[in-house]
């Protein structure tokens, strides 16, 4: 009993520390363009440039929204070492996805949908890998299947600017520059919309937020 309470307190403290750290180190300013923070079920999809992306988006959400939002992250990265698994599991409740070992009945999309139920929102990076260039890569089709199976979820585009300079690929020490995270107006999968068209639309929705 007591142990359960202390570990809950520990988690809450680590969560507050992690949020503070992520906000400080990313120096992020947040913009909501035709979009409001809300606790209804959403899929946040963003461009991916740094290991910090998921953590920063998650930290910038208001507290009640954050508690219902789970970043989707790569199992092979977050299960290495001792601190990262603790953070992923207990502190920011990441949904770990196996990138190497995808089976028919364990497809990431099904797994995600099962885990979020009718309660949680998720943060995904449809590029599927961290991008080092300045242009956003083609989106993988997972986002399309998510939208198709759960048409009730709001798809919120998120653009992350400058975070790749805070913690570039292959570096482990962050440099505290200032970044900017923009949440845009939700999009939906139209009835009968082809996959390619939809993914292009989604990618454009993220890209557009850069220039707003």
């Amino acid at each position: 009993m007591l142990e359960a309470i202390t570990s809950k307190t520990m988690e809450a403290v680590s969560r507050a520390l992690l949020v503070g750290f992520a906000r400080f180190i990313s120096g992020a300013s947040v913009r909501y363009i035709n979009c409001q923070p809300d606790t209804n079920q959403r899929i946040y999809f963003a461009n991916h440039t740094s290991h910090l992306d998921a953590l920063v988006i998650w930290s910038l959400l208001p507290h009640d929204v954050r508690m219902l939002t789970r970043p989707v992250a790569a199992r092979d990265y977050w299960e290495r070492g001792r601190l990262k698994p603790y953070l992923a599991k207990h502190v920011f409740g990441a949904m770990l996805i196996d990138r190497q070992n995808i089976k028919v009945h364990q497809s990431p999309v099904d797994l995600m949908l099962r885990e979020i139920g009718d309660r949680y929102s998720i943060i995904v990076f449809p590029e599927g890998h961290r991008n080092t260039g300045s242009e956003i890569d083609e989106f993988k089709s997972g986002l399309y299947y998510l939208a198709k199976k759960r048409p009730d979820l709001e798809l919120v585009p998120v653009h992350i600017d400058n975070l790749n300079r805070v913690l570039p690929r292959g570096e482990f020490l962050p440099v505290p520059l200032l970044s900017c995270v923009t949440f845009g107006p939700p999009i939906w999968l139209e009835a009968g919309e082809p996959k390619v068209e939809f993914l292009k639309k989604a990618r454009e929705a993220v890209r557009k937020l850069k220039d707003v």
């Binding site: 120096g27 080092t132 300079r165 570096e171 020490l173 440099v175 505290p176 520059l177 200032l178 900017c180």
Partner: protein, 316 residues
């Protein structure tokens, strides 16, 4: 906490009065529309006044808790200004480790040396050692694209945001006869603030001839000279709070005013080059620290050395 000596008390009171007056004028201008003052300029002025209030609060906290707290607070300010500067300059991914050194070694070290009063080291740490370290570290990272430009921008950021600004809290360490260390700092700040305000006022009232039209549409010769004149009168009027004689105080105030103006002009040039108007605008939600402290950065080291020269030569 030291007890207030009388001139320190009065100079602090004066600073509060000046800020109150500036706040009142700023708010009146905001409500007043028929005067035809550009609302953007008034907004700028009000933001600047607000930042002066925050700096004054910082000085008050530093005074209550001791000089090293003042140094630490300025260290924080430097850190934030440097973030803005580097964010807006085009460094490359290969500069990452160099930047880590700049942020987490050179910046804290500079302020640590200022806090412990090691002038011989902190006066050369960045101009000499960082100057040698940065190009070497970038070369080591093996990316030669725009090499000189990257070295220069990082070094410039470090010089302006860290080295120059660190001379403001260092003013406390100049040995003065029977005066509190904080008083020189207060004199410096009140002159920088007044000079900023006078520049604004003179530009709005008299401004005609632009100094550098390509760089700034606000900076005029009338504003520069008017601000300079008013600031030196203010310096003379406040000489009792400084270690200087009246004419010296006027000269010092003119020096601060001129340097502060150059600071604003330099920052405008950098911003023009980077295609932004304010350091704050690209980064929504941040007030743009660098926009507010440019005049302090340029005036502090020059004022420090001039004062030290006069004091050590026994001319005051």
């Amino acid at each position: 906490m030291d007890s207030f000596d009388l001139p320190t008390f009065w100079i602090f009171t004066t600073l509060l009065m000046v800020l109150t007056a500036a706040t009142v004028v700023g708010q009146m201008l905001r409500r007043q529309t028929e005067l035809g003052v550009n609302p953007a300029v008034v907004e700028q002025f009000n933001l600047r006044v607000r930042s002066w209030w925050m700096l004054t609060a910082m000085l008050a906290v530093g005074f209550l808790l001791g000089p090293s707290v003042t140094v630490a607070l300025f260290g924080g300010l430097s850190f934030w200004a440097l973030r803005e500067f580097i964010t807006l300059t085009p460094t490359r991914i290969a500069d990452h480790r160099t930047l880590f050194w700049v942020f987490f070694v050179f910046t804290p070290l500079q302020f640590y040396l200022v806090a412990t009063g090691q002038y011989e080291v902190y006066s050369i740490l960045i101009p000499v050692y960082a100057f040698l370290f940065i190009p070497a570290r970038i070369a080591l990272a093996g990316d030669f694209k725009r090499y000189l430009e990257r070295c220069t921008t990082i070094q410039t950021g470090l010089m302006i945001c860290v080295y120059c600004l660190s001379y403001a809290p260092a003013l406390q360490s100049i040995p003065l006869k029977d005066a509190q260390p904080v008083r020189l700092l207060l004199f410096f700040f009140i002159i920088v603030a007044l000079s900023d305000a006078f520049h604004y006022a003179c530009e709005k009232l008299l401004g005609k001839h632009l100094i550098a039209p390509a760089i700034s549409q606000n900076k005029t010769w009338e504003g520069f000279l008017g601000g300079l004149g008013c600031a030196s009168l203010a310096g003379m009027a406040l000489y009792w709070a400084s270690p200087f004689r009246a004419p010296q105080a006027a000269m010092m105030a003119a020096l601060i005013s001129a340097m502060g103006y150059c600071g604003g002009l330099t920052m405008s040039a950098i911003k023009r080059d980077r295609g932004v108007k304010d350091y704050g605008t690209l980064l929504v939600g941040h007030s743009g620290v660098l926009d507010r402290i440019d005049s302090i950065c340029f005036a502090a080291p020059v004022f420090y050395h001039a004062t030290k020269y006069l004091v050590t030569q026994g001319l005051t």
